[in-house]
Amino acid sequence: MIEQQRSWHSVPKMVIISLFLSIGLQILWHHQLPSPQLPIKTLAEPPPLELLHLLSFGDPIVTAKMLMLWLQAYDNQAGQFLSYQQLDYIALQKWLEQILHIDPNSQYPLLVASHIYSNVADTNRQRIMLEFVYQEFFKDPQHRWPWLAHATVLAKHRLKDLPLALKYAKAIATHSNSQMPRWAQEMRIFILEDMGELEQARLVIGGMLATGQITEQNEIQFLNEKLQALEKKLASPMTNSE
């Protein structure tokens, strides 16, 4: 439909002046307002799972994705960057749990827990995140082992907590599958060696070789060499203690 319009000359001058004045007034009004500032909000506890399902309107995957992006951006509030030490990690863990509940196939919450939120300079907070990864690992070990493997490395090198690293490495080894790389299953050997538990490390390698679960020649050779080195260490306790 083509609408015929009259020339703008037919608009009364008062209307045109009023139009420009009102635009100018609006701009002036905006400039005299104080710059927007929001107080930093603490992370609240997540709503119950039933409420999240209700608010999903039948599509929980989208809700999970939106919540994850919102949570990821939570440390950037109104142009102010929060340090992770300012975040409530208990609430954060609950949010990650809820997101994983409504979208269990997603790896995102585990990635942010093990790679991002665990980078905080506070060991208690780091432990909360690593424990979250550990607890969630058992629900789907086949897909979630890489995050626990990273948690093992963090526990060993950053937290310097070898028993904790061993706990995680053992969980990976116990729930190993054919798709899991050997290095992930062999992590516990090196942690045991670092802990000075040479006999246990030797038993683990011996067990792996005896069960015939390793078929690759290079792998067998590597483990045999490792076994011999451990036996040598065990045979000469003086060298070991040095």
């Binding site: 039948g58 599509d59 995957i61 989208v62 995102y108």
Partner: protein, 255 residues
Amino acid sequence: MKSIFTLAALVVLEALRTRFFVVIIILLALGFGLAMFVGQIAIIENVAYQSSLLAAFLRLSAVYVVTLFVITSMVHEFHNHAIYLWLSMPLQRSTYLIGKFSGFALIAAITALLFGAMLLSYVPYQQVGLWTISLFCELLIMTALSLLCVLTFHQIVQAFSVVVGFYILARSITAIQLMAQGPLLNTQSWADQIINFFITSLAMLLPNLDHFTQSKWLVYQTGIFDHLLEIIVQTIVYIILLITMSLFDIYRKNL
């Protein structure tokens, strides 16, 4: 039959004249921008995040524009008395309604196809096909409902409010049912029994739209033909119900 085609063609012509498809193109551009933005902020699973959020945006936009188009088009028809002109011709009221519905269905099909095509850059075509057909079925139900509401209320605000309320309820009725049957609320008091009965009755009357147009098909490629079968059967059943109700209403109207 010829009258039905004529009426349907006029609806499509009206969509072109009122620049309905310009809105669709703008929504596609907005969707593209949203997908690019999400792709930038997601650390992993970029495609999963892009496809799920884009699909949700497109689905809601499709329902919004199509229902609003149906309602405004019919209100316009009442206001310019075109409906009286049509009904003064040797044309059955049922033919008029079916013709109008066919035109709106065609608009819904074009919208679903255009929106589905946008997802092809992120998701395999089989899952996109499933999603598109499901979106079309969802839009058909919403179109039939909008037609019924506008015939009943004649006003945009009332009709659109009912349509939005219906959509939200139909998408969340399963969650409401699960909440009502939860262990904390599952007492034997009269009030609880009445509420439970009311929710169960409501769920019986509503289509299970929460099974339609699922994002998980696109994200995890879990959509199968059985899902589609269930959706098509539900759509046919509910459209027959809504069209029958509209026919009942239009035959009783003193036009």
